[in-house]
Amino acid sequence: MFNKERWNEILEALNANKFRTFLTAFGVFWGITILVLLLALTNGLKNGVTADFGDFATNSMFMWTQGTTKPYKGLPKGRYFNYKIDDVEAIKAEVPNLKYVSPRNQLGGFRGNNNAVRGTKTGAFEIYGDYPEFIKQQPMDILQGRFISYSDINAKRKVCVIGVDVIKGLYDKDEDPLGTYIKINGVNFMVVGTFKMANSQGDNEQDANTIYIPFTTFGQAFNRGDRVGWMAITANDEVSITALKQQVFDLMKSRHKVHPDDERAIGHFDLSEQFERISGLFSILTIVGYFVGILVLASGIIGINNIMLIVVKERTKEIGIRRALGATPGMIKGQILQESLILTILSGMMGVSFAALVIWVMNAILDNAGPVENFANPSVGMQVVFVALIILIVSGLLAGLIPASRATKMKPVDALRTE
């Protein structure tokens, strides 16, 4: 079927009416362009929105305490309590399938006062007390030095890891921050590392405006003792945190004498649930993209089907001649089918290339103009190209099927008689 002679025959036939071939091809070209662009835009939207989640491990939740709302075991409602450092050990010991349980404490934050001083420079930063695992939950690029280590935790060393914006705020240009000291709320910390957020977007200002110090040091230096501000808990990849979180809450309630039905005593934010919701939304958007794209493509395919019918009608006599000269119906059908296939695939691939060009231009503009809210890096994967190719092959065959059978339905003698 795919020999050179057949190809020549087909190219000759397609070349015989260039303008019409072009117009026909344009329908499919346009359809596939729209399909690919829709998917790319969906992807761009998805990239933009999921970027707001940052790089934080998505199978995670944050958990803090709120006032109790039910009296329990002789304790009144409206009581405030705090997690303690031994709660972390208890969670790790009693709730299986958790990957990381990081207790955290925080100083400063939104509209905070100046809390860090170095020489004559001051700044207001977010200061966190953290465990070494935290970098695995919130990926960041260590630019110099290192992150907090367990020996820092155990020795309660007064060391800190600072973000790029902190460097900007407290250091002169070309100054090496490693080994220097920063005074945080009156306590001196040695800088052992610098970081920036891994490919963050939008919120990176806030993220890089951060100083990490060992959790234990934080407790001692800033009078938190063994209290824990909140926890960031990540589950193992194969288990959803949403399924595990109730066990954690129950454990915390029993350890802190909270009524088991008191839903409001423990506050939490389930990143995984939010992320699932967004992913679900984008799965649906992708399906809508395919649906609309394929419908647009379908009109192109119908165009090809239509034009092939006209071609077959116009070439009735030629087909008659070919059959008189010994072409079997199979050969004629094969040729018509192959013509429609080539037309579809060629124009379709051109559409894919054109869409790729548009996407490229869009990305170039985005790169130059800076980030746009909720939209980033519109793109499609190779699998979309393959899916498009399969759609094209199937639809090319479909488009050729009716004309091909029409072409050989007439008796050769009648076909020869038409003018």
Binding site: R323, A324, L325, T328, P329, K411
Partner: protein
Amino acid sequence: MIQIKDLHKSYHMGSNSLHVLKGINFTVEEGELVSIMGSSGSGKSTLLNIIGMLDEADKGSYTLDGVVIKDLNEKIAAKYRNQFLGFVFQSFNLINYKSALDNVSMPMYYQGLKRKERTDRAMHYLEKVGLADWHHHLPSELSGGQKQRVAIARALASEPKVLLADEPTGALDSTTSYEVMELIQQINDEGKTILIVTHEDDIAHMTKRIVNLKDGVIIKDENVNQVKAKAHV
């Protein structure tokens, strides 16, 4: 070469049925040059189409070169046409976007010959009809006589047993007609069996045998003294 016995054919148009061939008995030996004559509606083209396997008879038997032609499906018919028959039509029926050479090559393409062999053979037959220099021209760039000669070259290219010509001179002026007939006579002299449908007396007399058809039956079948077309040119 061709044996036809009691051949019947009718056409149905709605409730009307038109009995075109009413029992044709007819034999052609190898190397004959036969013309089938008759007024329009006499059934001569229908007979040629049945012989050419472009149409099927309702009744009767047809044997071509020892092969019984019966219950053909389109695939086998196409194969037989390709192997046994070469067609020449009144309106030439060249494919207008193909050069003379490609037109002549086409039956060999369907025979599955290699490109080089096709081109060589096509050139050989174009030379034979005197159009080797025109091989790259499109049909629209050729005169009527030239087109018909390309069509004859195409019919010969598949090296058929029988050449079937349906009014080969019908669209040509008399001078060109004689040129074409001269070519046909020359091919016949080389031993090819040829059937021509015509309604022109002078053309018929350039063949060796005239079969007269009227209202679907053969009314006269006689050998004639062949007039050489060369004399007229």
